[in-house]
Subunit: 219 residues, 2 copies
């Protein structure tokens, strides 16, 4: 399979974690969004929407959207499972994941930042206030659903990492990039630390990818 990825893309980060947890080998193709490589004809043939990530299966089928790709990987490579066995648990984990993927993250993407900058001509302080506002909203939403819930364990749902943790970690990474102090959301902070201690998460982090710029690369 071919996996189209970009170091900074938080949706690519999510898929990288899933690939690592499941130890699925892929050919990684780096798409430099900063150089508009996602807008080239070559990439548009893969994904006409020009968004990352994309996974191309061995028969040439193109899969898009990070959660859909992770679901596919979970169905085709069931071990370790990224969703719990019961329907109620699965709904809880999907709900937590979608708080990030359907609420927080969409407001922080490069295309939105570009619109705020070029179409609305917002000042830098307004742009950073926007990012902070939506990042914090989702941190609070996650904490509200995780703290004190009987199903919350070492991870978002029990004691093994799964889809909700993958999304939580990607969102906390956006918060850390903005130097947001996580102490108001202790459950989120704890789960982020627990997950990032695992090699599958740590090796997927934006700061250690082959295309991570030298100035940003984790030492």
């Amino acid at each position: 399979m071919q996996f189209f990825s970009f170091w900074r893309s938080l949706a690519s980060f999510r898929v990288r974690i899933a690939l690592n947890l499941k130890q699925v080998p892929v050919e990684v193709i780096l798409v430099d969004i900063d150089a508009d490589a996602h807008r080239t004809d070559a990439y548009r043939k893969v994904n006409p929407q020009m968004a990352l990530p994309a996974l191309v299966t061995d028969d040439g089928t193109v899969l898009v959207q990070s959660l859909a790709i992770i679901d596919y990987l979970d169905e085709t490579h069931p071990t370790p499972a990224l969703l719990p066995a019961g329907a109620l648990g699965r709904a809880r984990v999907r709900g937590l994941a979608q708080m990030v993927a359907c609420e927080g993250h969409p407001l922080l993407t490069p295309r939105v930042r570009r619109y705020l900058d070029r179409e609305l001509d917002l000042r830098d302080s307004q742009q950073s206030a926007w990012r902070r506002h939506w990042t914090v909203e989702t941190l609070a939403a996650l904490e509200g659903h995780l703290a004190g819930h009987k199903a919350t364990g070492q991870f978002c749902h029990g004691d093994t990492p799964g889809l909700a943790d993958i999304c939580l970690v990607s969102h906390v990474t956006a918060a850390v990039n903005q130097q947001i102090n996580l102490s108001p959301w202790p459950t989120v902070k704890r789960i982020h630390e627990t997950a990032m201690a695992l090699p599958a998460f740590a090796k997927a982090h934006p700061s250690v990818q082959p295309d991570t710029p030298e100035a940003i690369r984790a030492k």
Copy 2:
């Protein structure tokens, strides 16, 4: 089960379609977002995130996020199936659904409109340009993935309605509300018309709910 819904909420609309397709009986509880009923203590006890929709199962478990709720309904009430049987087909349908739920819709929600209005003090013309821009982006993304694809049939995936159609219809409803001419996206337009001809979709539409204001109610 209790279903917390609001007539205008497009995410509630999605769950209403799924409930209708599967003929699952629920007690509908109307939450008037325009009157800030989602911010009351009563609703915060249901969903601390104060977002709609929510589904409360008979054992009191609260499920949030429209796609997670629909997945739950699909797992617990498998007929008619809202996802295809194969992993590749499921990934395609989930990807199409997430183009709406993780990209288009999050930029059009009341909380974002409130931020544009109150925090950024955008003019009406800037706010409508914002809504139009993101609505059109997702219409184009859907058309790009649907038009000419061998799996596209009468509906997004084959000849029976499913999760992708539910999301497509909710998004086209946002476009219609803005009087956007759909002719540049003929496949999206056709599938919307085909789906809305089905009673399960038509009866779930925002214009015909018990809490739809008289001035808006479809005659």
